[in-house]
Amino acid sequence: MTSITGNQVLYNAFRGCTSLVEVDLSSLTTMAMVAQNAFWYTFQGCTALKRVYLTKYSSSSGFQPWSQTFAGCTALELVDYSEATAVPALTSTNVFNNTNETFKIVVPDDLYSTWTTASNWSSFSSHIVKVSEYTPAS
């Protein structure tokens, strides 16, 4: 599968999947956000989820976290945006409510400065790391 387009895309898609450890969405080349609730609660309550590899986000397509997308992911270690070519809007700060305090958001080196000062991402700047400097948790 390389494309997802629809009104609700990943709305509630993995919500409450407490055995889910890793999700790789990096092969999705098209992920259109048609409706504003496309990524609401996508991983909410996935208490075992550690790593999420996201799409090649561009200004026209990609995974755009919104209302509580990762809320309650208490084991979260990595949100990988390393293939992004633009910074997605982080519409809500509740996206990362009640997550692991040490999780990392990995971004391309050339977008690091832009990412850490973008709206709402700036309040998570301590979690954002350049892909060249990221060391996976052992």
Binding site: R15, G16, T18, Q36, N37, W40, Y41, Q44, G45, T47, S59, S67, Q68, A71, G72, A86, V87, P88, A89, T91, S92, T93, N94, N97, N98, T117, A118, S119, N120, S122, S123
Partner: protein, 58 residues
């Protein structure tokens, strides 16, 4: 009305007192509320879109 508050760590919080989404920021988009570096001087306008109610976690 758009409200802006300094919240420390050189960040300013922007939100609507009508509980509607605000539009603007960087990247330009819709936001429930927005935290920005004070030095960025970002601006927002209110929309007529209500902020969605939060649901409880699992």
């Amino acid at each position: 009305m758009i409200i802006q508050e300094n919240v420390g760590n050189d960040l300013v919080k922007t939100y609507s007192d009508r509980r509607v989404l605000i539009k603007g920021g960087f990247p330009e988009g819709y936001y429930d509320e927005a935290y920005d570096p004070i030095s960025a001087n970002r601006t927002y306008v209110e929309t007529d879109i209500p902020i969605p109610p939060e649901q409880d976690g699992e």
